[in-house]
């Protein structure tokens, strides 16, 4: 009997089979980013080992109603704590009800478990896999949870075209940017260039940033959080027409995960390259472009043991031994699916536009959907909601101006293959957005685009002015 802790209790420990041959992965364990090394498994691999139950008080028996082990994969949404969604549960009974008189070890095996998703810990959502051992007792169970890491691997995408686009603000700034690929693996290098076609503004510098956008929830309560993973300056000074600025970003140095789209319909994690130009009055002109990140298998020199065959993706033809589950693992569809549309569609921190203007722009330009570029200022006023949405205006810079929250629609007709999520306030300081106000700007754009449109160079201008001024203006008498 167990009164107030005077009874017998036990320690539970799990020892995994082949843990010496298995790799560990550094995983973020909580929202603060604390990291822990967890044993790494891949889709289709067997999880096996031993559960060691150690009695704390030698000599006294431990009465229990059963010992079981569960393998659980769950998605936890932080705003909905307590409500965990389990997408994987497997149960093994280790012992029927009885008494434990000495330390006992129970072997367990979960053969060829499908682990469809990669572990992820983010700001609002957490996906984890763990083993839970429970010693069921009448009053209080003894429970121990041990986390494991799961990575999803992909092989080289068949189609990996470069991203090349011309964007601009009519009469002010036209640039052509290019990135060598649309899908990058986590240790890849982004090689690109920015070519200036027209520069009528006074540019001070240009920087590029990698932004992670985590979208959680569904329907009306979609919550988006942006995090700047990296940001650095690629150009200092004022460029002129005809100049090319090279870009080279080494991804291996940053804490990145593969792109995750609509995981179990609960969350998405996507990555964007944000190109920002700043002028001498601290106005920012930006262009966001989504890139797909995928995890490449690391080829090791050691020959792979039998139990580890499930993990390695078929990079250069090691498909022979793979079982069905393992073959599915080589190209997790939720990771690379839809990515072919990336270079034609993008998510942008853009601004709203009225349907009328967008349709006009459509008519004026070739029916290619290109995302917009944004122009906004450095500091974000807390009063202004930064509701932005993607817009398929060919080759435009957006500038977001936070006068009124705009509720305009995306021009859906233009972009068949495009993803256009509704974005909410960007928390990240480097990508402050304002709502795009409405009619007058778009009118202007309409007539401008109608009369001065070059085939691939329409501009839309939506701007916001320097926030420093705004802050000062509130204090102005």
């Amino acid at each position: 009997m167990n009164f107030l802790g005077f009874g017998q209790t036990a320690d539970i420990d799990v020892v995994f089979a082949d843990s010496e041959n298995r790799k560990y992965a550094d995983c973020r364990m909580d929202e603060n980013g604390k990291k822990e090394k967890l044993l790494l498994y891949y889709d289709g691999e067997t999880i096996s080992g031993k559960v060691n139950v150690t009695l704390k008080k030698p000599g006294t028996k431990l009465e229990h109603q059963g010992i079981k082990i569960e393998l659980i994969g769950q998605i936890e949404l932080f705003y909905d704590r307590g409500n965990h969604h389990e997408f994987l549960t497997q149960l093994k009974e280790l012992a029927r009800h009885g008494d434990l008189i000495k330390n006992t070890s129970y072997p367990f095996e979960f053969p060829n478990v499908e682990k469809p998703y990669e572990v992820y810990t983010g700001s609002n959502v957490r996906l984890r896999y763990f083993l839970r051992v429970t010693i069921v007792r009448r009053i209080s169970d003894i429970v121990r949870e041990i986390d494991i890491a799961v990575h999803t691997l992909s092989s080289y995408p068949e189609m990996n075209s470069p991203i090349k686009m011309e964007v601009g603000i009519e009469d002010c700034l036209h640039i052509e940017f290019e990135y060598n690929k649309s899908k990058y693996h986590l240790k890849d290098v982004i090689v690109g260039k920015i070519y200036f076609l027209l520069v009528r503004i006074k540019i001070k510098h240009m920087e590029i940033a990698i932004i992670k956008r985590e979208t959680t929830g569904a329907g009306s309560n979609v919550f988006t959080e942006n995090e700047t993973i990296a940001k650095y300056e690629i150009m200092d000074g004022a460029p002129v027409k005809g100049e090319s600025i090279p870009i080279r970003v080494f991804l291996a140095g940053y804490d990145l995960t593969p792109t995750m789209r609509d995981i179990n319909k609960k969350f998405s994690v996507r990555y964007f390259l944000n190109l920002v130009l700043m002028d001498t009055e601290d106005r920012r002109y930006f262009k966001q472009q989504e890139i797909t990140l995928w995890r490449k298998s690391e080829k090791t020199r050691k020959s792979l043991s039998n139990s580890a065959i499930g993990g390695t993706a078929s990079t250069q033809g090691s498909t022979n031994n793979l079982t069905q589950a393992q073959q599915n693992a080589t190209m997790p569809t939720h990771l690379v699916q839809g990515a072919s549309s990336i270079h034609t569609s993008s998510d942008i921190q853009g601004s709203h536009t009225s349907p009328a203007s967008s349709s006009n722009v459509v008519s004026a330009s070739a029916a290619v959907d290109h995302p917009n570029m944004g122009l906004f200022t450095e500091e974000d006023s807390p009063q202004h909601e930064a509701q932005s949405k993607t817009r398929s205006n060919p080759l435009a810079f957006d500038t977001d101006e936070d006068k009124t929250p705009s509720k305009e629609e995306d021009d859906a007709p233009l972009s068949a293959s495009k993803e256009q999520p509704q974005q909410q306030k960007s928390i990240d300081e480097s990508s402050s957005l304002f709502d795009e106000p409405s009619a007058t700007i778009t009118e202007q754009q309409q007539s401008q685009s109608n009369n001065t449109a070059i085939s691939n160079n329409d501009g839309e201008i939506e701007t916001s002015a320097a926030t420093a001024d705004r802050e000062a203006s509130t204090a102005k008498d």
Binding site: K193, V199, I203, P246, E281, K403, A466, A472
Partner: protein
């Protein structure tokens, strides 16, 4: 003269002493063959390299002058001198005189019509308008006028360089026309369109 340095068998660094550019070729064991050398770029023409920049815009607020007109109140006005090569402005060099209330008018027009967040003006200085309040010359005191001049210069430069404000009729009127017609019809200034329309008209006739 080219020098080639070998670091480990999978890294080659090429340098030329005549050229500042360094080309880095990385060949790794995975035989990825993914070169990280720069993308091909178009060569910039010498013309583009050395011609005047397309973003030339200078606006100065100078020469504050206090005018006493018979029968009206004393006031200070400033010279707004603008030099630019931006096509959006009709006149490439202009000089007009404006007073503080004209700036206020411009600011209100832009707040109402344009999509930008209009920067603040230097303060109205109500205190100074009360005669003999501070013991100095109130709004005609030299130091105050100088502070105001600086603030007005910052204000007008911020607006004139803003892509969304550059098309506003009120701004063009403020900067380039002799007097401000307060009864104008607000809107965007489509000078370009006017010129194109004119050309088309002459072609068609």
């Amino acid at each position: 003269m080219r020098k080639i340095y070998h670091f480990r068998r999978n890294l080659v660094l090429e340098t030329t002493t005549t050229c500042a550019e360094v080309i880095l070729l990385k060949m790794n064991d995975d035989f990825e063959n993914s070169s990280i050398s720069r993308l091909h770029t178009k060569k910039q023409s010498l013309d583009d390299m050395y011609s005047a920049p397309a973003n030339f815009l200078e606006i100065d607020v100078l020469n504050p002058q206090t005018t006493i007109v018979q029968g009206k109140k004393k006031f200070t006005d400033y010279e707004i001198r603008m030099k630019t090569n931006l096509p959006v402005f009709k006149v490439k060099e202009s000089s007009v005189r404006r007073r503080y209330s004209d700036f206020e008018w411009l600011r209100n027009e832009l707040e109402r019509d344009s999509k930008i967040i209009v920067p603040p003006l230097p303060s109205k200085a109500w205190k100074r308008q009360v005669p003999f309040f501070g013991g100095d010359e109130g709004i005609f005191e030299e130091k105050f006028i100088e502070e105001r001049r600086k603030g007005l210069e910052i204000f007008v430069n911020k607006i004139a360089g803003h892509p969304l404000a550059q098309n506003e009729k009120c701004l063009h009127m403020f900067l380039q026309e002799e007097t401000i017609d307060r009864n104008y019809t607000p809107g965007k200034d489509y000078f370009k369109l006017y010129v194109i329309a004119l050309i088309l008209f002459y072609i068609s006739v």
